[in-house]
């Protein structure tokens, strides 16, 4: 694959890869940088790609690794910046302070649990796609989501929020 072929591939899939990363990291600037990093790894591993297989799942798998690595290394205070539409509860009894504490508690979860729960519960992606992207079984995804919810509940109870 030469650079021209790679550019065509990049232009075809950059939106999809960016979208997947954005769902995990929820930060536009980071998602853009991580998209470039993902394609950089793809470029370096291009000789190992089997053209008979679909490109998108392979790219999503690499993108997930890059995004998880970012979640592991980003400082907690930065991780609180949620670069998406403002959080708003349907229930008026839920204050913005409560939502901030929920965000903080969620961001304190281990990155693997965070990613699985974000993709499954918030972004409502298919469990099969999440499993393929994270390199685990569907059962593994369900287990991570279950553990994430249980851990989140405990953290919320600790700060006085009883869902």
């Amino acid at each position: 694959m030469d650079v021209d072929d790679f550019e065509a591939l990049f232009r075809d899939y950059q939106g999809e890869v960016y979208g997947w990363i954005m769902r995990i990291v929820r930060d536009r600037t980071a998602a853009e940088d991580l998209t470039v990093e993902t394609f950089w790894r793809i470029w370096k591993a291009r000789s190992r790609f089997d053209p008979k297989r679909e490109f998108a799942p392979w790219a999503r798998r690499i993108a997930s690794n890059v995004a998880l690595s970012h979640l592991r290394h980003r400082p907690r205070e930065i991780s609180l910046i949620v670069d998406v539409p403002a959080a708003q509860a349907a229930d008026p009894a839920v204050t913005s302070d409560t939502l901030t504490r929920v965000q903080r508690a969620f961001r304190e979860l281990p990155p693997k649990l965070q990613a699985a729960a974000t993709l499954a519960l918030i972004e409502e992606q298919k469990y099969e796609d999440i499993a393929a992207a994270l390199g685990i079984s569907v059962g593994g995804v369900k287990s991570r989501v279950f553990r994430a919810v249980r851990m989140l509940r405990k953290k919320l109870e600790r700060v006085g929020i009883r869902p």
């Binding site: 650079v3 550019e7 998602a31 853009e32 539409p85 959080a87 918030i122 869902p163």
Partner: protein, 67 residues
């Protein structure tokens, strides 16, 4: 509200799923940088060979023979 509903309220699904800029120029720069970059180990090897030749000039002939 249960944990899942609270979570969705606190972290709504991402809607902006397209990059705000063309990312190809950044990608291209990265590829070009890698193409012209000489790994540090290569520089170390060149330095070691030059040092060896400086200390033992007669070994240069043997080295060139093997090249």
């Amino acid at each position: 509200m249960n944990e899942e509903q609270l979570l969705k309220a606190a972290l709504p699904p991402v809607k902006d799923l397209e990059p705000g800029r063309d990312l190809w120029p950044a990608m291209r720069r990265k590829i070009d940088e890698q193409t012209i970059r000489v790994p540090i180990w290569d520089w170390a090897l060149i330095a070691a060979v030059l040092a060896w030749i400086a200390i033992f000039p007669q070994s240069a002939l043997a080295l060139f023979y093997h090249l």
